[in-house]
Symmetry: C2
Subunit: 410 residues, 2 copies
């Protein structure tokens, strides 16, 4: 049975945050907004994909979606997905829009939104949740989803297939995760502007709700404030709770090296985005200098080529690739293979609030033996989703509805 | 006397190219378009800045210009330029639009267009050509133009000032260039699709018009075609003529290393953009493997941070920073300082067809002792400029009109 894409619409969805929500050292006045792609299929189904922006400019992404996606009208979704790697490369290399990146910024965000809508429609047409769809694909079909161009020096198609095959026999030993659910961690307790009192109260509340990992936003003009608050958190929770700090690019390389040392006694699990996301060598210098503290980054790393360089230089320990920043689920999977090859865990940043990534983390753990860590949880938009992630006792319950959990209420 | 910016307008200027013009291995169907910023001053003067795109999507840049530049209305141009580094940083870190980069893609192109318009207006208000304006600034005023954030590990404000001061005493020995003009090289002879016959005829014509350097577009599906055409060119011109090849990102890293060796006998001056512009380590591997052939790149390197990494890894020999790709003249100058520190020549890519860069190359040679090479020349848009670059006998004549030569005919 064929399911043609009959037409494509976009939606500029903007959401009000409560005061203080989403605020970090660099993004001090965020809105949350989604540039939404909707692929309308001939059978009446709709595939939904989106990327996160902070409000203004969301409309630019939507316009880029309309220009990029036009060529998909009339295509059968199964036929598209049978060689999606090639489809994605041709969209990424649009003869004129490519100049506006290439493979980064507004046009790449647009490609991510389109890609995510393709995967959602595909899973709906097959009547299964995205994680199930991906688990059921054979190795050749998985590799055909990926654009591996510009990775030839490290990851050929054959090497990608071998990586997937290597972990296939042991999949069943990891399928318990479908029943247990995937652990979450709570980012929303520690926004930058929250008072010390609120921070501690939020942390205790998160622990009481079952979370075992928490994140604190740092990057104050006064570094002593950051260190003090990290220790406040450390004292407020049990020693088995993992604490992370997130700098959101606020530090210079020398500052990052100096400041991280001040946190030596705070028992941190990682430091996130210590400096500018284009500074691969800066991150590598930081990563070397601050061990045993480890570096997490990726929410602003635009594509697989940049991730390749991060991994080649030892500049990242936790790969925070986000399918609403790279070119969607397809490039997310590509980066996950690069990470696997280097034995690094993927722990996504969740521009999607975890909706799509909950599927991807189940797949990565079972299919690639991605280290079982935890998936970021940000609850601020849950009321706007048709199927909001079901996070209870600090655990993402495995979604059972068809698709990628990306549909928004009207 | 004060000159306030009373209002800002944009123009979506698109130009038809003749068949074959502008075509390379990756951009096979280009238009040329400019996203133009016009700053209207209270005295009736207009500052013009622009960036290049390939047509579709040009309007996205214009919309980003309108969002980003709004905060400049009501500001005095002299006051803005007295601390433009800080102004530019605050625009680059727009609290919401920053997410769409950061510092790359559509929003960064918009910042470039705005920045270039500020410099043009400033030079017009002072009644001097841009090169003269820059040469007349003292060291502190020059450094105040620059956003050096995220370069603290390699280039502090003090180090930037020292670099400028070091070459001040010997400026007069290089001012001959103002009388002689700056040499050009011709890119338009060797577009990708031109036949062998046309290529040779174009080359001979360019030599007869005084050019001493020519560029050939390569990256064919059949690498033997590229090698054959390079030798054709080599045989068609004198041995003192410099030949460069431009891959426009078409090769993988292994292909680049293999293919470059095939050109060993063609006497090439550089190979340009051998692979993906985000692949710093890939370029470094290529640069090491293909010596003595040297690597030129930069037209798609978005900002100073990425250039820092290129320079730190020895991945580039000729720094092709383009003030219509990085955040305008200001970030161009910053990258030139990074290059100077590493003793690398700046040889810009000219998204502006050389209009603005002719000023910048005069300044860089005199003020920073930038190696005297040649400035790319692409003649296809000259009929659309108010003051088209005056290129005779292969030499850019020094512009004498006030401003940055960026004004377009209506």
């Amino acid at each position: 049975m064929t399911h043609f894409i009959s037409h494509i619409t976009t939606r500029d969805a903007r959401f009000a945050l409560k005061p203080g929500e989403g605020v970090d050292a660099v993004h001090r006045d965020p809105q949350y907004a989604y540039a939404v792609t909707r692929l309308h299929a001939s059978n009446g189904m709709t595939g939904t994909g989106f990327v996160l922006t902070l409000g203004p400019g969301n409309n630019l992404v939507n316009q880029a979606i309309e220009m990029l996606a036009a060529s998909l009208v009339g295509r059968d979704i199964e036929e598209l997905m049978a060689s999606f790697g090639a489809v994605q490369r041709s969209l990424a290399d649009h003869p004129q829009l490519r100049w506006l990146g290439p493979h980064k910024g507004v046009v790449h965000l647009a490609l991510a939104s389109i890609t995510n809508a393709c995967f959602d429609l595909w899973a709906k047409v097959r009547g299964v949740p995205l994680w199930r769809l991906l688990l059921d694909l054979d190795t050749a079909a998985l590799v055909a989803l990926l654009d591996l161009s510009y990775l030839e020096d490290v990851l050929t198609q054959e090497a990608a297939a071998r990586l997937i095959e290597q972990h296939r026999d042991t999949r069943s030993s990891r399928e318990f995760i479908l029943a247990s659910g995937y652990p979450g961690y709570d980012t929303s307790i520690g926004w930058f502007g929250y008072s010390d009192e609120r921070l501690v109260a939020n942390a205790k509340d998160a622990i009481s709700r079952g979370f075992l990992a928490l994140k604190l936003k740092v990057g104050s003009d006064d570094p002593a404030r950051d260190v003090r608050r990290a220790h406040l958190l450390r004292q407020a929770v049990d020693s088995n709770v993992r604490l992370m700090i997130d700098v959101n690019q606020q530090w210079t390389v020398p500052q990052a090296i100096m400041n991280c040392r001040e946190f030596a006694d705070a028992g941190l699990y990682w430091v996130e985005e210590p400096t500018h996301p284009d500074d691969v060598l800066g991150h590598a210098a930081i990563a070397q200098a601050i061990l045993p503290l480890r570096v997490a980054t990726g929410e602003h790393v635009a594509n697989r080529v940049a991730f390749k360089n991060y991994i080649q230089t030892g500049a990242v320990h936790f790969v925070q690739v986000d399918c609403t920043r790279v070119a969607g689920i397809s490039e997310f999977l590509t980066v996950a293979l690069l990470a696997k090859q280097a034995k690094l865990p993927v722990v996504p940043h969740v521009g999607d609030m975890g909706q799509v990534h909950q599927h991807l983390m189940l797949f990565l753990h079972i299919a690639l033996e991605n280290e079982l860590t935890f998936l970021e949880h940000i609850p601020h938009l849950r009321e706007f989703f048709v199927h909001p992630a079901d996070v209870r006792d600090g655990i993402y319950a495995t979604p059972q509805h068809p698709g990628a959990s990306a549909d928004l209420l009207e």
